[in-house]
């Protein structure tokens, strides 16, 4: 079975066996990452992070503090990378752009009536254009889950394509909100539609719905990216977001990327973590690798 999308794009329906996916995840999780490969993985995780604040109560001050943290993760340890991006609401993009000037760190903005996506198309396009005009390098949009469940895949496709156009040169990450999609087959189908419609990245979650990112969902999305690559030659990025709070879990995600997509995807250009509290846990692990002891969380800044 297949679906014919606008522009005569054909995508196959892909069967996904949940038990098999969970088994593969369990096996990947048996990989033991020690010593230098652990340190390398932790540094990689830091460099791939989208440090995120998406609260109604976010202020300019909070965003400035977060931006400083993004560029100065833990100055007591020289040689640490910066994170990849800071992710904020559109109204705070300008603040972040100013605070991050010269750091090489990107500004990502959520858009399209984030997190529910329950707004008219015109608002979503304006939302996106506002973020880009304020200097966002990356846009994290949400798909219309209601339309997806109605089977209106053309609408979902068209909406992504329109937002992509509104993005101009900004990179587009498409949030599937997998916690609402119910089945791994839906996750796969939504991934395929998003990539066909022009996504530069596909992303699991807004962080506002539980469950957010999970390893099984991420595996299915990585496999979709791999199949898209073999079909089109185009590399799409992956961003699990929400619920990734520990170094151990971050390393498990990186193992999954390495063994599903290979070395080329192990950079911030093709893989990101959307997280708010992960950075300090990774820093604590790096400290313990360097000093042999775990330090109190109070030695690491919370911004």
């Amino acid at each position: 079975m297949h679906y014919i999308l606008p522009q005569n794009i054909v995508i196959d329906r892909v069967e996904v066996d949940t038990t098999g996916v969970e088994e593969r995840v369990a096996r990947l999780n048996t990989r033991s990452i020690k010593k230098e490969s652990k340190m390398e993985g932790l540094l990689m995780a830091l460099s791939m992070m989208d440090l995120t604040t998406l609260e109604g109560k976010d202020s300019e001050g909070k965003v400035k503090q977060l931006c400083y943290k993004a560029a100065h993760l833990h100055d007591a340890f020289p040689g640490l990378p910066t994170v990849a991006a800071v992710c904020v609401y559109p109204t705070l993009v300008a603040t972040a752009v100013k605070a991050l000037a010269g750091t090489g760190i990107n500004v990502a903005s959520v858009s399209t009536a984030f997190p529910s996506g329950q707004g008219p198309m015109s608002v979503k396009i304006d939302d996106t254009k506002f973020a880009v005009e304020n200097g966002a390098d990356e846009v994290d949009m949400v798909i219309s889950r209601g339309r997806f469940f109605m089977g209106d895949y053309n609408f979902v496709f068209d909406e992504i394509a329109a937002v992509k156009e509104a993005c101009g040169n900004a990179h587009l990450k498409v949030i599937l909100e997998t916690g609402e999609l119910e089945t791994l087959e839906n996750v796969r189908l939504a991934s395929d539609i998003a990539m066909a419609a022009g996504a530069d990245f596909i992303k699991t979650s807004t962080g506002k719905v539980q469950p957010a990112a999970t390893l099984p969902v991420t595996l299915v999305m990585l496999q979709a990216i791999r199949d898209h690559y073999y079909k089109t030659g185009k590399m799409i990025g992956m961003k699990p977001a929400g619920g990734i709070a520990t170094s151990k879990l971050a390393l498990q995600y990186l193992v999954m990327v390495k063994e599903t997509l290979g070395a080329a995807w192990l950079t911030k250009d093709y893989f990101r973590f959307g997280a708010s509290s992960l950075a300090n846990d990774v820093l604590m692990q790096i400290a313990s690798q360097q000093t042999g002891v775990y330090q109190s969380i109070d030695y690491f800044s919370k911004d």
């Binding site: 066996d17 098999g20 020690k34 791999r226 030659g233 192990l266």
Partner: protein, 495 residues
Amino acid sequence: MTKKKTTNTKAPAIDFNGKWDYAPAPESTSHIHLEKQYGHFINGKFVKPSNGKYFATINPATEAKIAEIADGSAADVDAAVKAARTAYDKVWSKMPAAERGKYIYRIARILQERAREFAVIESMDGGKSIRESRDIDVPLAAAHFFYYAGWADKLEYLMAGKKPKSLGVAGQIIPWNFPLLMAAWKIAPALAAGNTVVLKPAETTSLTALKLAEVIRDAGLPPGVVNIVTGAGATGAAIVSHPGIDKIAFTGSTDVGKLIQKAIAGTNKKLTLELGGKAANIIFEDAAIDQAVEGIVNGIFFNQGHVCCAGSRLFVQEGVADEVIRKLKDRMETLIVGDPLDKNTDIGAINSKEQLATINKFLKIGKDEGAEIYQPQCAIPSKGYWCRPTLFLNVSQSHRIVQEEIFGPVLAVQTFRTVDEVIEKANNTPYGLSAGVWTDKGSKIFKVSQKLRAGVIWANTYNKFDPTSPFGGYKESGFGREGGLHGLLPYLKFE
């Protein structure tokens, strides 16, 4: 209807190497205890072999000697059988069944407590990866003891209206591919049914059976209930032909199984044989392909392919063949071959020099037959016995590598168009131990599996084992079942 999936050949194959390699993560060996020399375990004690002869057991990953193992003679076997008979007559057959169960539970619990030690020794002696010995072999062995311990006092519910009686002394001969697990498969049901045991492990992998003897001793089993005699083929032959044995249970090659059947013809000995296999693993185009590829890997590369039920013949429906082969090759690139004690190793060492020679012989046969060979270019250690995971493409039912059991990480791949065609080819083998069916369509699973002549059929999974499930073959894969309540029947007579 077949659909041809297109792939863009312009996209270069994904490179799985070159960045972020895993540092060695060796399992510690400091907690294990091994003697330099092991005697037989007879009548509750370790005893020296009567002829004073020993042979070395080798670590197949390093070729280093681990310990010396007693070479069992006919006299040793005789002593073991006599001890088993005495224990049967005087103690074990008279003990209340619930008491027997308690002893078996005790074995299970001690085995669990010492799981790490058993896993490490199993990997050192047999070459299998620590991931498998830790996560599969040892826990499953304990689970078999737990399961059959529960049956000990419930045997009268096996067959309504019939009274079960134990047989006497069971002679059990086990292979080298799952040394501890096969010992558990054999000993647990025999004891639960009220028999006593003389067991011979394979000569390349005696250590965990001897460590199990320690567990049995520590569990306080009455002397002679379980006896373990080590040695090679001649020792096994002495067990088979010993007149004091009431039942033979053998797991191993079909050739040896046939010899055993001849040897005991005309005697009263009961027999179960679990022999070779050449299982069909069938991927239909409506399968969940990525999970099926994982199932292919688990089917043939589990335990270096040293698995009688390995899915060694792959049948892929034409419409998805290109996709399946590409994904399988990519997956094989990520398999790590090497030190069995490294926690990241996927494929450990080939069990012995002899088995490596057998596998290499078949690799040569396959190439000479014109099959297209594919192996990932993974690094392998310079010392020890190793074989890269291997595919043979473009083969037919007439190729020897499709017909004969290789017992290594070697997969023969064919494509098919129709359901009838694949059923005919799957059944076109002297073996009939197992098969795999992969489709998202439930009705197809039932339709196909009813027509496959194999004792075990997995649907949308492969190489899954559980003590509650019977296991055994059709045709030259043997007869009799192990596991589940069926596994008790060969150790009982009903009156």
